[in-house]
Amino acid sequence: MEEVAARFPFWMIGALLGVGVWGMLGKRSLVKKLIGLNIFQSAIILFFIVGSMHTGATVPILWHGQHNPHAEDFVNPLPHVLMLTAIVVSVAITAVALAFMVRLHRAFGDLDEERILDELRR
């Protein structure tokens, strides 16, 4: 069971990635595409965080006044930093996409990809 627990996160993240891709490319609603995008990106973020763990380690914040900290006591801080960036990027993209969406809704009165395409072809 422990074995399974050690691999389990990867399976779930894989599934989430799949769900995200499906949402982005398979859904017709523009909102749903954006939701899929968010799911996809946070799955990647989770993946990085899972990789940053190690057993018996704790939050990468030094105790006050502690000297000569041992690296194995703390989880790997680097992926955390990267993921802070990734979260910010994903929020930025979401904001821009929402701005586009508001304008698209005003222009087409709809957020369905197919209908917008029909409208554009006319």
Binding site: L17, V21, M24, L25, L30, K33, L34, L37, F40, Q41, I44, F47, F48, G51, L78, P79, L82, T85, A86, V89, A92, I93, V96, A97, F100, M101, R103, L104, A107, F108, I116, L120
Partner: protein
Amino acid sequence: MEHLPILIPLPLLAASLVVPLAGLWAPRAVFPLSVAAIALSAAMSALALAEVVAEGEALRYTLGGWAPPIGIEYVVDHVSAFVAAVITSVALMVVVAARRAAAREAAGRRGLFYALVLLLLAGLTGMVVTGDLFNVFVFMEISSLAAYALVSLGGRAGMFAAYRYLILGTVGGSFYLLGVAFLYFTTGTLNIADTARLLAETEPNISVAVGAAFIFAGLGVKMALIPLHLWLPDAYTFAPSSVNSLIAPIMTKVGAYVMVRMFLSVFPEGYLTEEVPVSQALIALGLAGSVYGAYAAMGQRDLRRMLAYSSVSQLGLLAVGIGIATPLGLAAALLHVMNHALMKGALFLVAMSMRMGAGVSDVRMLAGVGRRMPVTSSVFAVGAVAMVGIPPTAGFFSKWYLSIAAIDEGLWFVLAVVLASSLLSAVYLFRVIERLYLAPAPVIAGGADDGSESDAAASAQDGGVRESPLDVTLPMALLALAAIVLGVLNVVVMERVLEPGL
């Protein structure tokens, strides 16, 4: 000039902060500021290129004063200096030429527009000079976000194209990030040189293989490799002219550059050919793309859409060069990066100039424009000839080296496909030239009313069509001229710049 590497993106970044404020309070300063920043960046890139060529080794720069695996470093070697110089100078030309178009298309929002242009360029140059895998992602997202925003200026169709571009572009970026995650978890570092060293030591395993696959899938989206090219035609067609003439020549090229970087300095030699079939996939998709793009371009009536599909075609050739992965193949690809940037810059500027001067971008409506807009039309002719690959234009030589590299590897069909796609591009490009220069002739069949309609349009236009002013035509002509001069002098580029770097 120890700070040279950072000085390539920094002027752009700094100016992008000032420009939106200038847009609010001093709109007149927006354009000069932006151009000055781009010119500065271009000068710094050129300087860096000169220094790298003179010194023969890469300039390294630690950001924040932390040595590489700990901090982030900038590496300006032959290849990155070359690409940086190409994109900044092409961008300079395009931005200057697109001033009037931008003033109209981004009326009242010029500050924001130019700030985003600067950010786009900052992102691209940042991607080029960085020596850190994650930093590539961050700057890729900067440039992509700016590109989405700029594309969205093109009315409601542009907005929709931008939205789809955003979704697909983000898929690409995220795939890249996922790939980097795999590499990071296998090696423990993000620095490119360090990753290369550690990857060479590790046993080939499926994580790295899939990581490579994800990275290339992501970059494939960014450089519009064939099944991932879906965003490109709409984005290029519906974006305002001032934007697509900027994005088309440089944006996808940087994606290609990162691919070259992956082959060159991330994965061990032969890894991407033997362990993971990335090379083979690139060649196959590139060939398919080069033919499909040219074929699709033949059926287009809108000049910009035609050029967009032609980009798909040319990028396919680029991918083939990268996929061949020998030093000669990569050199051919990089030379093609330069050539295609010059040619596409010139051609999209032509499309812009024609929209401004003749008010049309439908190929069928361009009849007789050749006489009214002589400079624009001759730039188109030169660009087209270079695109087809007729010596001694630059376009010929990248195809030439590409063919040599392909034959060297025994890939005969590559030669055949390259030649076939050149022919196809001749078909659609010369069709436009016919239209431009050969008076209203209803050659392209399609019913009598079709012909008479375009005749009527042509005669109606005749009064209104006039050549664009000098600030549009001069940069355009310079780009076209560069396509010829650099073609004749290609050996200099190859021997002084590309070969030492590969």
